[in-house]
Assembly symmetry: C2
Homo-oligomer: 450 residues x 2
């Protein structure tokens, strides 16, 4: 059974046995053991879940040694097990791993490097362990700075799993629906003047909160709309919405957990493409290439009151090992010119996807920026309705061909392609070949790393 | 300026320059840089903050090479930079660091080992990155299981820094006070029949919530009362309170972030001493010896609905490197017999502290279990009122002697002694000698590792 989960991924429940034709005995036994030990709240990718044991660059390997081209994982953003990051972690773990109530150069050096990459008004960095904690903290800071509690997010946004972050993550489809302090606006996916409509929707949402007696706190927006089906532009798309939020006294918080660290191919941050200056920027996933490290940058005027009245301490946040991992990731992004690669390989990938789309009516729009692409899967009958069943079938067929992607979007019908930033044009070609094969109802056989 | 922060630690603001007599130029410059880069929400320990660069076992070393005996850090619980843990992290970081939507033996093997150490009814493990996330998730699960939102905690409890966890962490003294769904009860520190009084207080708190229309969700209690000033017993202290919570339909959640992993010297978990079986057990800090890993164990009946309706995914939670780190910590606890050491060295430490207390009227009660001790600092005038100023002075004098501890408690007057579990009797002797010196108004000079 393939279901839907946070950010619309194609997943299945823990206890399901998977496709009986394809199930490997060891995998079925692991699934049963996993259901017994971890319980019912966990989910797995793919009708035939993967048992992975090793990663290297853009490749993942299962227990039988089969290779999978990773077209999906943005956490291992500079490549699985990058030796520079691994050795930075190992060296610092062997030297010191304490916390921020002692002085250490680690958080200071990393904060300086990150702030250098951000617009000037963002003056302070704070460190957490997860993107959820970063967005949760941004919400606490925004409430302290504004005195309000109202949050506006996009319709299928995903911002985290703490209680506070889950409450403004409509992608989770929590029972009970959205709480009284949250409003959603449609992602600016299509139609005329998407930027103008988006700004008007944000203004209307805050007005609606105001009528309900809820003061404005923040407009929180993922700059690449990862779980809304991937929205690339036009550049400037976010400017009006950010201004609409500020006009009522809310902060504009850029959630860069998905779009940050070079993913979109135009500088380090996804919001750069839109010519906006956020009040707070949250970051996470790729920040430590798998080491749990996240954080936020904030304008000093917004943190003054919070710093005086509330304060913040996170036991593992800003620890020297986390800082070493994140510093090593920044090194690799620069040395290997991964932002330029995201732009070039991403453009190549989208061009190849559009070639395939031209010959396949089940593929609709191809969107994306850098190495983050979304491809609509639609019915081929001329009505072009979203077809999540076929999207899941394509994802599972590509997995059988040894290429890993997932789905996204309000209807779960958007192919979500988001490989490590070390993806090269030949990898994109291989991914697209597996897609074509899947569209023809076949698989390609497992790949071998090249 | 020495202030008070979460869990009553003696701290100072980021921008403070520290004791001008003792300030090293480099430290003052780092403090200024830190204030500029990290902003006003961060705090530092000690009037003269420490710039640490290296750790080894029970020793920490500053930038000048001076050694400090660590009598405080429970995260590096099996000793700073333990080689078995460091090599487990390095090896797994070089092999694979993905997430729980793929199958991997790491979370399964660790879950099996942890569940083996817990009472039978706790059937499932879930993994997060921080104790805050674990307590936040416990609250979400408790709400799903009970349908209520009411939380009862102790008066100076600290349970985390997400918005939800901070709301039930009165130690943070947040502006605006406690929200409507939270009630506090005094920690059972003294008086006749503390267990009976504690149970009655918990029952009364839930009754008060009920009168306010708030249904019961959970009674959340740190089994060693770390930020309430350290409460050791009598054994059985928690049983009546847990029963009172269950009688109204609330879950009893044991917060083992402080007391877990052998800290109290009687088995792996702090609640064991009290003969209770929790509905949920949360764990964190020492779990990965500094690697960000945390989690919870839950009775299957409480997670069924949450698993069906809500689900949970944490990007870094349960990743193979976290699991390797936590598994290595369990190895070391067993191989080096650290629970027995916590019991034996802890008993020696408390005996020596009581020897000192007998000769010093400024020291009041000595409490503790295993390697977690609390010593009241009181006025010597016969009234024995809490004396937080003298407690902070003692902590700072001991730091000047090269021994690290902190403070705790409602009044901030409790010396909080919580060293790595590899602390030996000779280290306890050295700590107590520094305390005696501090009580005589002097310092001992920096130590050398023995």
């Amino acid at each position: 059974m393939t279901g839907r989960d946070a950010d619309g991924e194609a997943e299945q429940a823990n206890g399901d046995r998977g496709d009986p034709c394809g199930a490997v005995g060891g995998v079925a036994a692991m699934q049963a053991r996993r259901a017994a030990l971890l319980g019912p709240a966990y989910r797995l990718f793919y009708d035939r879940p993967l048992h992975l044991v090793r990663g290297d660059g853009v490749w993942l390997f299962d227990a039988q040694g089969a290779a999978y081209l990773d077209g999906y994982n943005n956490v291992a953003s500079v490549g699985h097990c990058h030796p520079h990051v691994v050795s930075a972690i190992a060296a610092q773990a062997g030297r010191l791993a304490t916390h921020t109530r002692y002085l250490h150069d680690g958080p200071l050096d990393l904060a300086a490097r990150l702030l250098d990459s951000l617009p000037e008004p963002l003056g302070h960095m704070m460190f957490t362990c997860t993107g959820s904690e970063a967005n949760d903290l941004a919400f606490r800071i925004a409430q302290s700075a504004t005195g309000g509690r109202g949050v506006v997010v996009t319709q299928t946004a995903y911002h985290g799993v703490t209680e506070a972050a889950a409450a403004f993550s409509p992608a989770l489809r929590l029972p009970g629906g959205l709480p009284a302090h949250v409003r959603v606006v449609p992602a600016p996916l299509d139609g005329p003047d998407p930027a103008g409509r988006f700004a008007a929707d944000v203004a209307a949402a805050f007005a609606d909160l105001g009528r309900a007696g809820v003061g404005p706190a923040m407009f929180l927006c993922d700059s690449i709309f990862a779980s809304d089906g991937v929205v690339d532009g036009p550049p400037g798309l976010l400017r009006g919405a950010a201004e609409a939020a500020r006009a009522v006294g809310a902060l504009y918080v850029a959630d860069e957990v998905q779009a940050g660290f070079g993913r979109t191919g135009e500088g380090m941050w996804g919001f750069t493409r839109h010519g906006v200056q956020p009040d707070i920027v949250t970051m996470g996933k790729p920040m430590g290439n798998g080491y749990p490290v996240a954080g936020l940058a904030v304008r000093p005027e917004h943190i003054a009151r919070f710093g005086r009245d509330v304060r913040y301490f996170n036991t593992f946040g800003g620890n020297p090992v986390a800082m070493a991992a994140a510093g090593a990731v920044l090194d690799v992004i620069a040395r290997e010119e991964l932002i330029a690669n995201a732009a070039a390989t991403g453009a190549h990938l989208r061009a190849r996807l559009r070639d395939v789309q031209a010959g396949h009516p089940v593929l609709g729009a191809v969107r994306g920026a850098g190495l983050f692409a979304g491809v609509d899967v639609v019915t081929p009958d001329g009505s072009a309705r979203p077809d999540p069943q076929n999207a899941a079938a394509i994802v599972n067929a590509m997995r059988a061909s040894g290429v890993l992607i997932s789905t996204s979007g309000l209807d779960g019908n958007v192919l979500k392609i988001r490989p490590p930033l070390v993806f090269r044009p030949e990898h994109a070609d291989r991914l697209v070949a597996a897609l074509e094969q899947a569209l023809h109802g076949g698989t390609r056989g497992h790949g071998t790393p090249e």
